[in-house]
């Protein structure tokens, strides 16, 4: 399966990464190289195999639903781009 110009643009848009027009062709070649190499996986018989999502292969532990930590307003706001009182001030992200 080979990516065309429009598909590269669509993937970049889904990934929210700006790609300049002059970069598309190089990216297309690189991505097709990687995807072409990955095609080797099609020769593996995977019938009846359950997917493995993680190496741990363990049941996640339950824990009590209680507050165990907190009270770090200043620490948390230390990396905020701007603050208004005890709140983060950021560009509007919800219409």
């Amino acid at each position: 399966m080979s990516l065309d110009h429009a598909t590269v643009r669509r993937i970049a848009s889904l990934a929210r990464i700006r790609v300049e027009e002059h970069e598309v062709e190089t990216l297309r070649t690189e991505l097709n190289g990687i995807l072409g190499w990955i095609e080797q996986l099609n020769e593996v018989d995977i019938a009846g195999i359950a997917p493995l999502t993680g190496a741990a292969n363990m049941a996640l532990a339950m824990r009590a639903d209680v507050v165990t930590d907190g009270g770090y307003v200043e620490k948390i706001l230390a990396n905020a781009p701007e603050r208004i009182g005890d709140f983060y001030a950021v560009p509007k992200v919800v219409e």
Binding site: A15, R16, I38, Q40, I49, T53, A55, P81
Partner: protein, 492 residues
């Protein structure tokens, strides 16, 4: 020289008051000041904080309240969040981010008295095998080709700064992370011991995420015993990481001298890759001979799906990365590039903040997870991952550990393998399967190539049986007598 001591030796010397923790830390900071401008192993050097930690270590030593690592100077891969010390992940996109918290692994090292010299350079978001993708510049390996002293070699990656620092005596040990070989391959290139423990053994909490189901924090050091000492401090259950394993931490250090008598060592026949350099093949046979001579039995085994490990990895890892890196959007922290609207802000910020390799992987990951392609790529890769784990499980029914080369070559020069991403990816062909299966693996220096560059052997073990890996690595270390030192080093 104080900088040449092993961690075990320094621990004894500190307790005997042969020197102070301040002496030891100062010796390392002086070495960093002299050599880091050239090697670029550290992105951030914490002179004042390190000396303050060393003074506290001396107080503890005087009071007799020392712990396992009191006064031992370490390098911390700049992927671990360190409270009050800038953390970059080797990327521009985190901007001036200073974590307000300490990762669990580094908090445990501090609990045990370690001194943090600074934050070690790495490939951007740990994506690379050469340290060439760091936004803070490449790291120069302290090792030189005998025949070509002018060539600047890579230390390997992604934990290239950690490996270069420990090798050049700019730290006694270091933390790394290993998602596809990022501890073991640089350990092999730099003549160090590096362990990727079992998935779940070391908490990932506070480690900047690359691929969550594949990321493994682990230690580097110059000896097997030192590596075991570090892992003993870094390991343990952490309720803040839901994949952290609730299993006891054994005495890893005691396991190093256990010997290999009676152990069954498997040789996976599929690792005999075509085109493997003859000196690596010879070293592998030498390693098997050493283990036989020490009383182990060598057994042929098969891992039939291992040849698909790398291609599987290049679906799973980018998929998880594209998801993990979605948080870097320029809104709440880190770099921001303003745009015409919100979407433009996201796109410009991420274009400016991510380097070429990170961008490639995020795009691959986005594609393999996108509607219509998920089953063909991601789901198929997860099923092959299950087959790779099954191969290991079946092999470990017959043997106690596997022996393989760590990497298909010795260190290459800066600029080599850069023309085609897949060429760079192939460096990890022997290391990636252990990440997919979550089983522990260690690289131990075993010899030099014709150019005088280090070559490592890899021991792969059963889940949560790092003790056997330390025993096997200890036997190889004893037989190999690896005493080579890099040309560029403190006092060198």
């Amino acid at each position: 020289m104080l900088t040449d001591l092993t961690i075990a030796e320094a621990r004894d010397g500190l307790r005997a008051k042969d020197f102070s923790a301040v002496d030891l830390t100062t010796a390392h900071l002086d070495a960093i000041d002299a050599l880091n401008p050239r090697l670029n192993a550290y992105i951030t050097v914490s002179h004042a904080a390190a000396l303050e930690q060393a003074r506290r270590a001396d107080t503890a030593l005087a009071a007799g309240t020392q712990r396992a690592l009191t006064g031992i100077p370490l390098a911390i891969k700049d992927l671990f969040c360190t409270e009050g010390v800038r953390t970059t992940a080797g990327s521009k996109i985190l901007g001036p981010f200073v974590p307000p918290y300490e990762s669990t692994v580094t908090a445990q090292l501090l609990r045990d008295g370690a001194v943090f010299l600074g934050k070690a350079n790495l490939d951007e978001f740990a994506m690379g095998s050469s340290n060439m993708t760091s936004a803070f510049g490449p790291v120069e390996s302290p090792w030189k080709r005998r025949q070509d002293q002018a060539a600047v070699l890579v230390p390997g990656g992604s934990s290239g700064g950690s490996a270069a620092a420990v090798s050049a005596r700019l730290a006694m040990g270091a933390t790394g992370t290993d998602t596809g070989g990022s501890i073991r391959q640089p350990a092999s290139y730099c003549g160090l011991v590096g362990m990727k423990p079992t998935y779940g053994r070391c908490s990932r909490w506070g480690v900047v995420a690359f691929a969550s189901s594949l990321d493994h924090p682990g230690p580097f050091a110059r000896t097997v015993r030192d590596t075991a000492i570090l892992l003993g401090s870094m390991a343990g259950h952490d309720p803040k990481d839901s994949t952290s394993a609730c299993v006891p931490v054994p005495d890893f250090e005691a396991a190093c001298a256990r010997g290999v008598a009676g152990l069954r060592i498997g040789v996976p026949r599929e690792y005999r890759a075509e085109g493997m350099p003859s000196e690596i093949e010879a070293l592998w046979q030498q390693g098997l001979d050493w283990l036989r001579a020490a009383g182990a039995e060598v057994v042929d085994v098969s891992l039939p799906h291992t040849r698909y490990g790398l291609a599987t990895y290049y679906i799973v890892a980018p998929a998880e990365a594209s998801s993990n890196l979605a948080r870097y959007d320029g809104v709440r922290f880190g770099l921001r590039h303003d745009g015409e609207d919100l979407r433009d802000l996201y796109e410009r910020t991420r274009a400016e903040g991510f380097g070429a390799e990170v961008r490639r992987r995020v795009l691959i990951g986005t594609y393999v997870l996108s509607a219509g392609y998920y089953d063909a790529y991601y789901l198929r890769a997860q099923k092959i991952r299950a087959l790779i784990l099954k191969d290991f499980t079946e092999a470990f029914a017959k043997v106690d550990a596997l022996l393989t080369p760590t990497a298909p070559s010795a260190a290459f020069a800066q600029g080599e393998n850069m023309d085609d991403p897949i060429k760079m990816y192939l460096n990890d062909v022997f290391t990636v399967p252990a990440n997919l299966a979550g089983v522990p693996a260690v690289s131990v220096p075993a010899g030099l190539d014709a150019n005088g560059l280090p070559l490592g052997l890899q021991v792969i073990g059963k889940p949560f049986d790092e003790e056997t890996l330390f025993a096997v690595a200890g036997a190889i270390e004893a037989a190999a007598g690896f005493a080579a030192v890099p040309q560029v080093r403190a006092g060198g």
